[in-house]
């Protein structure tokens, strides 16, 4: 059996049929990690209890106790989701020593479905970044080209799936952190509607924007994983009861008659020609499958970046204040007094990008600036939401690019944060509006790097988004391609 080309659902089905055991599957993934991870640096931690866990899960599958389509499938978890007893570093020196005594609700839910976690996946420090270069544990490399970044912040998750080191992964998306690396690594990823997956145990970056979601080889795999975690949680006050995502409906979805809108403003200055061409081609394909595709104007796009960086930085500055060297995490060795302890611990424990965003956040919340920045940003956020509400009166889905470019060279953006922020132009709006959106592989650029299309749906339309993506993947093979090295 060739596990290398299998999707998570195919592997889950084979385990259920007894064609392969969960332990064999885990051994395969551990072998892949052994073989490739030194090169790509996807994992921060590989768990030492993987085989024991696989054995336990296999027993429950054999006894009929576990029936989820993903039971026994090896997977990875982004290192900002707490997992009891396992280092949860957020890619930071600050939390290098942190082992939570509790698990994130999404981690518990995926474990209850029989997941076999392989370990914790690398990320930009505290999920701040679009390249996975800001991790304290070093940069993750793009399996399609090791000189390129995998995107970020869930770069470890996307690269691990692309490199076949795991069959699916959980990532988190605050301003594109699932979709952009999925696009850069040629895998499928979805950020669900805000509130539909519990954030309990997800180390917060920007609370009003953060959402957990899956990355996998196919839209169907994403649907299977998402259906396990899209559940209301009493431990998260912002969690809402939804109908979840229905795997069967996804697998039988027909795009015939679907109305798809393309915002012309997504095709402005800065968009790479190859990326534009791949998106246009995807639109044609969807049209050929019976959807109607139409362009429309969405001028609000130009406010997305400033709005996002004000709100996200403001919340981050508050969320990251708890890392003060007092209770857990990094503490500076020598300090004079309390203020010195705070200053040194935070100066040494956080990296540049995190400090930049904390300072930006403190600035926009300070008295005298709150009204000029934060309050204005909240107003702009409401306008962005309104623009999407209006668009969804007319369209079932909105289609566009995930990112203006394909994966950049390592180091290219690190010295120019503003340039990096501009790369988030298409994704951050979705978080501001709280909408669900997926990145679906739809081609390659002239250098052979993957391109993802952005499928944006109305609130709680995850089944529709993943259904359309699945239908598209039934007629294309972009998602099946693997990097030549693997």
């Amino acid at each position: 059996m060739n596990l290398k080309d299998m999707t998570a659902l195919e592997l889950g089905a084979a385990i259920k049929k007894g064609e392969i055991s969960a332990v064999e599957a885990a051994k395969f993934s551990l072998g892949q990690i052994d073989k490739y991870d030194e090169k790509f640096s996807c994992f921060v931690t590989v768990q030492d209890d993987v085989l024991a866990r696989a054995e336990e899960v296999q027993k429950k599958i054999s006894s009929g106790e576990l029936t989820s389509p993903l039971a026994g499938v090896p997977m990875g978890i982004k290192d900002n989701m707490c997992q009891k007893g396992i280092q949860t570093s957020c890619g930071s020196l600050m939390l290098k020593s942190f082992k939570p005594t509790y698990s994130a609700t999404a981690v518990e839910q995926i474990m209850n479905a029989g997941a076999v976690p392989l370990g914790k996946l690398n990320m930009d420090e505290f999920a701040m970044g679009s390249t996975t270069e800001t991790s304290y544990f070093g940069a993750t490399k793009n399996p399609w080209n090791v000189k390129c970044v995998p995107g970020g912040s869930s770069g470890g998750s996307a690269a691990a799936v692309a490199a076949n080191e795991c069959f699916y992964a959980l990532g988190s998306d605050t301003g594109g952190s699932i979709r952009q690396p999925a696009s850069f690594c040629g895998v499928t990823g979805i950020k669900p509607t805000y509130g539909s997956v519990s954030r309990f145990g997800l180390v917060a970056y920007a609370s009003s924007l953060d959402q957990i979601g899956p990355l996998a080889r196919s839209a169907a795999d994403c649907a299977a994983a998402l259906s396990e975690i899209m559940k209301k949680d009493v431990k998260d006050n912002t969690s809402v009861k939804t109908e979840g995502v229905d795997l069967n409906s996804v697998l039988n979805y027909d795009v015939n008659g679907m109305k798809i809108g393309i915002p012309t403003d997504f095709f402005g200055e800065g968009l790479d020609k190859d990326v534009a061409a791949a998106i246009e081609a995807a639109a044609k394909q969807l049209e050929a499958m019976g959807a109607t595709v139409e362009k429309f104007d969405m001028p609000i796009v130009k406010y997305a970046i400033p709005t996002y960086y004000i709100i996200a930085a403001a919340e981050a500055s508050s969320n990251l204040s708890r890392y003060d060297g007092i209770k857990y995490g990094y503490r500076a060795e020598d300090f004079e007094d309390l203020l010195d302890l705070y200053t040194k611990s935070r100066s040494e424990g956080f990296g540049m990008e995190v400090k930049r965003r904390i300072m930006l956040g403190c600035f926009v919340l300070s008295s005298g600036y709150y009204d000029a920045y934060y309050r204005k940003a909240l107003q702009a956020k409401a306008l962005i939401k309104g623009a999407f509400d209006k668009a969804f009166e007319k369209y079932d889905l909105i289609l566009g690019p995930v990112a203006p470019t394909t994966a950049l060279k390592i180091g290219e953006n690190l010295s120019d944060p503003l340039k990096m922020y501009l790369g988030d132009i298409y994704t951050v709006m979705i978080n501001l509006a709280g909408l669900p959106a997926a990145s679906v592989p739809c081609g390659f650029d002239s250098k052979g790097m993957p391109v993802g299309m952005h499928l944006i749906g109305n609130y709680f339309s995850e089944t529709k988004i993943l259904g359309a993506a699945h239908a598209y993947q039934q007629t294309t093979d972009w998602h099946k391609r693997t990097p030549s090295e693997i």
Binding site: N80, T101, R199, A204, D236, S317, S318, S321, L365, S367
Partner: protein, 480 residues
């Protein structure tokens, strides 16, 4: 400025009250006072990475109750905000509080004004928030430890308008507020345990001026006596500064009750910028008309209404009614025995006399009375039935108050019942008369004092168990 200027003190209060919920505001840890350090906490209240708050609805219920009982308008769409600052007792480095849309606004409480009459103290707002932990300095290791047990205990902060003009008004308001909150059951208001603490904003101005002076703030005052001293001390200090031609600095001051003086803690220039913003982890709270009406209807009779009823229906004096209704526990003592059928005035007399004296002698608060309330009625009943004398009853009450013993058993066991057998009384008196011939002679020669002595000796011989009037009558009969 001439020294003859007379000054007016202007104050506003911020009162923090710990709510009597069983569990904390955002997690299910107990709110119980005490406990070994860091045993009443969990990942949520210690601000571990990734945890989220889940709101205890009882906190909202209690805040609404407090708002309605103090005549506030309930903000039917209210929200939490984050107040950001670094301190080791605040594990998230922000306190979840309410700035922009507090749950209650525009209320007031009526008090007796300085110089007579009534006056309303306005309540600007009441907001919900979480308490912080506590730093403990260990002199042995010269290090500071943190105890997070109090972290996340729910508080309401009741912010008054600057309507106070004297320490007395402040104390009256606090007493009234405390009684109301105890009656509606939202807080035990134990100042010694810090469940009611007040910050005082104080400024002075020349009498007649309509502008406020520069104010100072004194924080975390936790006894009425200390508050009164702090107010008088601080207004004196400000007046002195102004009279010497200086200016009062806007600052936070710490009142040191031992030194009878306040000390500057931090000035306005060092004031923190709390960078308030809406708490994204908690959705807005919506409160329906129906919920407000149900809560209003569920409120018990408040102290003010009780006071009026005690005067008009039960015939208590204004003073007695006011004293008894100042405490939920005195009211409970009064009403339980009233319900058992004892006369209102008799119970009130006991409370105003013996109960108050015992409280004052022992330095206890009414909530610390450790005896069963029905025992007071049992004592009154025994006196009514002439089973014991009033004096015996007072002595027995001391044991009831101090040891919580059952007075009926106590009287039985200590053989304190009034001697009703006149033959026995007579025999005892005859013995006294025989043994005190000198006093008998004196009495017979017209010295009234001698009679008192003989009565005293007779009562003593009877161990106080006889009715003094009966003793006097028999004694006079024997002496002829």
């Amino acid at each position: 400025m001439a020294k003859t200027t007379s000054w007016e003190t202007v104050m506003g209060l911020e009162v923090h009250v710990e709510l009597a919920t069983k569990t904390k505001i955002f997690c299910s840890c107990t709110t119980e006072f005490g406990g070994d350090p860091n045993t009443h906490c969990c990942p949520v209240c210690t601000g571990m990475p990734g945890v989220l708050p889940s709101l205890n609805r009882q906190v909202v219920n209690y805040a609404v109750k407090a708002g309605l009982a103090t005549n506030c308008t309930i903000t039917q769409y209210n929200k939490f905000d984050r107040k950001n600052y670094f301190y080791p007792d605040l594990p998230k480095a922000y306190q979840v509080s309410q700035l922009y849309l507090p749950i209650c606004r525009n209320g007031g409480i009526e008090i007796e004004a300085e110089g007579g009459g009534k006056k309303i103290i306005g309540i600007h707002e009441i907001h919900m928030e979480e308490d912080a932990g506590k730093l403990v300095h260990d002199p042995w290791t010269d290090s500071t430890m943190v105890d997070y047990n109090r972290c996340g205990v729910p508080l309401i902060e009741i912010v008054s308008e600057p309507d106070f003009r004297s320490a007395n008004e402040v104390i009256r308001y606090l007493e009234k507020l405390k009684a109301i909150l105890q009656f509606i059951g939202v807080s035990d208001c134990k100042m010694q345990e810090g469940s009611l603490r007040a910050d005082i904003n104080l400024s002075v101005r020349p009498v007649g001026s309509d502008k406020f002076g520069t104010r100072t703030e004194m924080k975390n005052m936790n006894s009425f006596k200390a508050i009164a001293r702090a107010i008088n001390g601080e207004s004196k200090r400000q007046i002195e500064v102004l009279e010497e031609g200086g200016v009062v600095k806007q600052e936070t001051r710490r009142w040191d009750d031992n030194k009878d003086a306040s000390f500057a803690m931090r000035s306005k220039e060092d004031a923190q910028d709390y960078k308030y913003f809406p708490e994204p982890d908690l959705i807005p709270i919506e409160i329906s008309d129906e919920f407000i009406e149900n809560t209003r209807n569920s409120l018990p009779e408040l102290p003010e209404a009780k006071r009026q009823r005690y005067v008009s229906e039960l015939g208590l004096s204004e003073y007695d009614a006011a004293q008894i209704t100042s405490s939920k526990y005195l009211v409970a003592l009064f009403e339980e025995n009233l319900a058992a059928g004892y006369p209102a005035k008799e119970i009130a007399n006991w409370i105003m006399g013996e109960v108050m004296r015992m409280l004052s002698d022992s330095g206890k608060e009414p909530e610390e009375m450790g005896f069963e309330y029905k025992y007071l009625g049992a004592l009154i009943g025994m006196v009514q039935k002439n089973e014991i004398t009033r004096n015996t009853a007072k002595k027995v009450f001391k044991s009831v108050f101090e040891e919580g013993c059952d007075p009926v058993k106590y009287v039985e066991e200590n053989n304190l019942k009034t001697v009703t057998d006149t033959g026995a009384v007579k025999a005892a008196i005859e013995e006294v008369v025989a043994a005190n011939q000198k006093s008998v002679d004196e009495y017979k020669s017209g010295k009234e004092k001698a009679l008192q002595y003989l009565i005293g000796q007779s009562m003593r011989a009877l161990r106080g168990k006889a009715d003094p009037q009966t003793v006097t009558a028999i004694l006079k009969e024997i002496l002829g």
